[in-house]
């Protein structure tokens, strides 16, 4: 400690104002609240953005397939909108994570890299399996869209559930499990209804998460 690059050679001096117990308690609570807000990337706004992304993205794809007889799959235009919205969502998460994680190093950073690798491996496995099934003759668009969407959500939900369990983050664990159940249940609605069911189901879960982050004690937004 004491390197010139960080201290600027400034003369250190004491700043020890007297505190009574009430002032100390207020300062402690305020600092804890602020630190939790600054260091945790999750926020009600981020969850709200995710809720809008799934509802609008999946909703637009549903509008493009709901009248199809026979089923040919989502139109290119609807997929462009969906992928653009997903890119926006990924961008907002990366931006929030890098802001919150600036200057932080150690165990949680290593854990996050391992979680990223696990998510990438899970997605790769989903698509390799899908390619193998298509190669064996399952070429109907209904098959690979239902399988592709459900398996992607289940794989991502499982990785996030594992992450949440390790960190004892029960709120995120509940959300991950809910997303997996919605994905599996929506597959029962078929290649058209699946998009609407996934969109509404995930939107409701994410809105509930935004509300919990904004109101519940111990959440990053309240820090209580």
């Amino acid at each position: 400690m004491g390197e010139a690059s960080e201290t600027g050679g400034a003369e250190a001096h004491e700043n020890e104002g007297a505190l009574d117990a009430g002032e100390a308690a207020r300062l402690l609570a305020q600092t804890q609240r602020q630190a939790q807000r600054d260091l945790d990337f999750r926020s009600p706004l981020l969850s709200l953005v995710a809720a809008v992304v799934v509802l609008v993205g999946f909703g637009i794809v549903w509008l493009s397939v709901r009248g199809q007889h026979p089923y040919t799959g989502p139109t290119a235009a609807s997929l462009v909108v969906l992928y653009a919205l997903i890119a926006i969502r990924i961008g907002t998460v990366i931006s929030a994570q890098s802001r919150a994680g600036a200057g932080v190093s150690g165990r949680s950073v290593r854990l996050r890299r391992a979680e990223g690798a696990a998510a990438a491996a899970a997605l790769l496995a989903v698509y390799v399996l899908m390619a193998a099934l298509v190669n064996q003759g399952n070429r109907h668009p209904a098959f690979y869209w239902v399988y592709g969407v459900a398996a992607t959500l289940i794989a991502l939900g499982a990785v996030w559930a594992g992450r949440s369990a390790v960190r004892e983050d029960w709120q995120d664990l509940a959300i991950s499990v809910a997303v997996m159940l919605i994905a599996a249940g929506s597959a029962l609605a078929g290649p058209r209804g699946m998009w609407l069911s996934d969109g509404i189901g995930c939107c409701v879960v994410l809105l509930a998460n935004a509300g919990a982050l904004a109101l519940l004690p111990g959440s990053p937004a309240t820090g209580r």
Binding site: M1, N15, A25, V104, S108
Partner: protein, 99 residues
Amino acid sequence: MTADALDPLIHVPARLQIMATLAALPTGDQLSFTRLQDMIGLTPGNLITHLRKLEDAGYLTTEKTGSGPASRTSVALTSQGRAALDLYTATLRTLLNGL
């Protein structure tokens, strides 16, 4: 019980803020000197003085990596520091309940 029962090393505004901020990190994580300074709003010299006192008491560790302008100092709370802050918080609660 009086305010004298509170750990005098922590019972100073700047050091209380440093301890509470570092305690918000998960165990095993460190925070860079510059980020800690941004979060608390102390001058570098003032922050260093308080960090040295807390480090001498075994409440935190500092680790310097690199050299020259690219050097980086990271700060982390020790288990002893966490225990001291927990005790401070419990004592504070007892004091306030007694009022």
